[in-house]
Symmetry: C2
Subunit: 143 residues, 2 copies
């Protein structure tokens, strides 16, 4: 699921924020990329969309967009501070070859979480599941 500019504008407006070129640029970069990007990478690619884009603004924008749920933070062993466009799922599949980030449906997870809740007594409110491996394309390349 990708977010359109219209949807984004609406979300920003509703939260009392303005729709600006830098914000559009950051979101566009994340939507056009399948990878989890670092702030630095977002800045580099964002400058092709909004020439005057500053790194500081990227940081502020990423924080804002993450707060609004328009982008999602991606943590992994390799790159700890990645950002990706927000889809519905919280489950990420990382390719260690090309760093692309894919989301996948994860039907069995709820049962699993329920089992853990029963065993431990925790009230579980969030989960983070990241699988990493090699995507079909990179497997083909290395073969």
């Amino acid at each position: 699921m990708k977010l359109t500019q219209t949807e984004m504008a609406h979300t920003l407006r509703q939260a009392g924020y303005r729709l600006t070129q830098p914000r559009l640029a950051v979101l566009q970069v994340l939507e056009e990329s399948d990878e989890g990007l670092s702030p630095e990478e977002v800045h580099q690619q964002g400058k092709t969309v909004c020439v005057s884009l500053g790194l500081v603004t990227v940081y502020r924008t990423l924080e804002l967009l993450a707060e609004l749920g328009l982008v999602r933070r991606v943590h992994s062993q390799q790159r700890c501070h990645g950002y990706a466009s927000a889809g519905a799922a919280r489950h990420h599949l990382l390719c260690r070859g090309c760093h692309r980030v894919t989301e996948f449906p994860c039907d069995g997870l709820d049962d699993l979480i329920e089992a853990v809740r029963r065993q431990t007594g925790y009230a579980i409110t969030e989960h983070l599941l990241e699988l990493s491996g090699v995507c079909p394309e990179c497997q083909a390349k290395s073969a």
Copy 2:
């Protein structure tokens, strides 16, 4: 599963490293704590065990111990660079109240991973599953 000093000494020796006071201190702190600790926290607590312990040594020791598999890196939305004593599992349950890190058995995960592999074609080599919520003790406190 906790590691004893003897086991640790053996692991270090086998890899060609020396068993030193700072290394013992760092491991002891992580074993006595149920939380995922930041390098800074390990340093603070470690100084009660090894008075002269320096922060730099904590960083170097954590990296070494992680490499040897004696401690494990813990990533989460809140604290990105945490370390915890290594157990058998890779599944962590974080309490957002007291920051304790519990490990839990996760029987259904292999099936889930296999399903994702079939759907996506990825060769999945690693996984990271972190659940977070509120532990029973913290639930009781806030009640």
